[in-house]
Amino acid sequence: MDTNISLLMNLNALAGGFFLVCAFFLVAGRQIGTCIKFFILESFFLACSAFLVGVEIKSFHLIGVGIINLITKVILIPYVLKLLLPSTVYTKREIEHVLNIPSSLIVSLILTIIGWFFAYPIMHQLGPWPALYVNIPIGISGFLLGAFTLTIRREAIPQLLGILAMENGAFFAGISLAPDLSVITELVAAFDILILVFVIGVLTRKIHEQTGTTFVGILKFLREEAK
């Protein structure tokens, strides 16, 4: 590959690295508050990457995407969650993992490598551009880690963060896949994600009212043999 890569692209790679680290912490976080903080950080690095690539290719679309992400994911989503959920959800307590933390980190490592292999043919097809080589593999790995977070958590808010992390991963890959996607589409998508957080927040509150906990692992009423 060309060794003469601009400073912005190098910074973009750094943002990508931090993005991936945040995704790992999201898998391993022990408390709900920590998980939310790492999700905010992850979204912040997503916005950073959009800014950096946007300045590099002088695309106002991408800078717009960065601003939209900053407003919705870093500011509005935590606010909506705080507004909707009872404060007891955030009290310091350890949340259960289905897998213990070391083994889930090892699985995350394997998923990251799988993400790179999955990304390789796509990067190869779309041609040489430094942002592609950073954003697609990291985006897909972040996507897989989000899906993994979703599967190993039994608590409502971390599961929601898993879904959001999946979408963050897809959008991180999208920065290089679709740099000229119209701002209107991104705006509607951001609005859509806000509705998502609102709906899941309301549902979580209802589950909390009904069962007294946000531990969704106890929802096993529909099993046929339970009767």
Binding site: Q125, A170, L181, T185, D192, I200, L203, L222
Partner: protein, 481 residues
Amino acid sequence: MSILYVLMSIPIFCIIMCIIFNWNYYCKYITVIGALFIFLIALYLTTKLNSSNLFIGSKYGLIGIEGFGIVILLLIGFVNLCASIFSIGYMQIKSKRLIKRYYLNYSLFVFSMLIVPLIQEPNVVWIAVELTTLFSVMLVGFENTNKALEAAWKYVVLTLMGAGIALLGFLILYAAAKKAGIENYTWTGLEKIAPALSPILVKTSFFLILIGFGTKVGLVPMHTWLPDAHSQAPSPVCALLSGIETSVVLYVILKFIPIIQHVHGLNIFYLILIFGLISTGVAAILIIQVKDYKRLFAFSTVEHMGIILVAFSIVSYSGNISGMLQIIAHAITKSMCFYAAGVVLFLYNTREISSIKSLIKNSPFVGIYLLIAGLSIAGAPPFLVFFSEFSIIKSALYSRHYIMISFLAIFIIIAFFAIMNHISRMVFSKNNIKQNSIYMDNIPISMKIGLLLSGLPVIIFGIYPVWIYKIAKIAALSIGG
């Protein structure tokens, strides 16, 4: 063109009427009137189409509609009309606050389904499909019981996970289209540029979208949420979810058929076939063991989605027509089944098959109706599903897919006997405890109207399917003939 905008704004208009004027009491009537207008506009649009004019609106703009979209629109219109009438009776025992919340969510849900076939830009279609999930979650969990909330949670988590997978697919598709030098990123634009698309990228993106949206359609093995959500929601919502929402999402997957056909050196129809056959087979076997009659119909939805995919994997004009017929037949018949199930639930207040006995004696109207619904969804002649399944088998035989069709026929037969076994036990089996039959016929009049209205086309078009066949033909032309 402008009529499409009018169509889209009807549900929003209903919501504004309900919120701004605070007409809690009239919400139900406003929704019915809105549904009637949607249905009439869809009917009007159907008459506008013929084999020489396959498109209304702008082909390269954001809003437009072609033959397949109009079929979906017409089905949304019809099922929505019946469901809104049926809802009046279903909601009459609920509190005022709950009624308002129900109708707000209901109109939003209908709006999100309406825009899917109207929008021509794939990325925005993804957003619309995600909205269908988000606006229907509260309806699934509407009863606010432990079971309903669990079903809603499963529904939202699994389908949003699927939507995330599909998002990646749509972004890859966009990158592929830009690389091929697309001017207007719409379905028609993609179709036009298809020969220049990179096969690897299209294959990756289609696979991701098939898995992702397949979750929402209920394809095996991503179907686990479907029987729960489709059985716990209020019955009119079940009719919308099972009859229409699955087809709406399937429409997005099937929009890829004309694109895939034109990409050089790409044959992935075997993927559609495999998913279709597995879904049909697994669902047919799972129907045997159900204990809940709403779950029975939900599993039958999984089976029908599989059959539709098998029909489109034949890749011939007659295969596409029969697939379209199956989509139409499924939507009309499945919604009828859920209305029948809703009335049974209203009378007995239990979902268990084993606690419902000799329905035909207790309430002859409901008993006969459930029997007709069961027979028609299982595929007995002379109903519409029989006609469409028969035409699928016929077109597969023409294309010499003997192994595939023998599997499909076996699965359909298993499902037929499984469904009829459960239904006949509910309708005919002897009951030792005598129930008061006057009490049993105490069904609200709106429920009866909804039931009768939904059953009408199942019987009429089963005997005389000429009009439906004509629409299916135009729809099949619009996805590549």
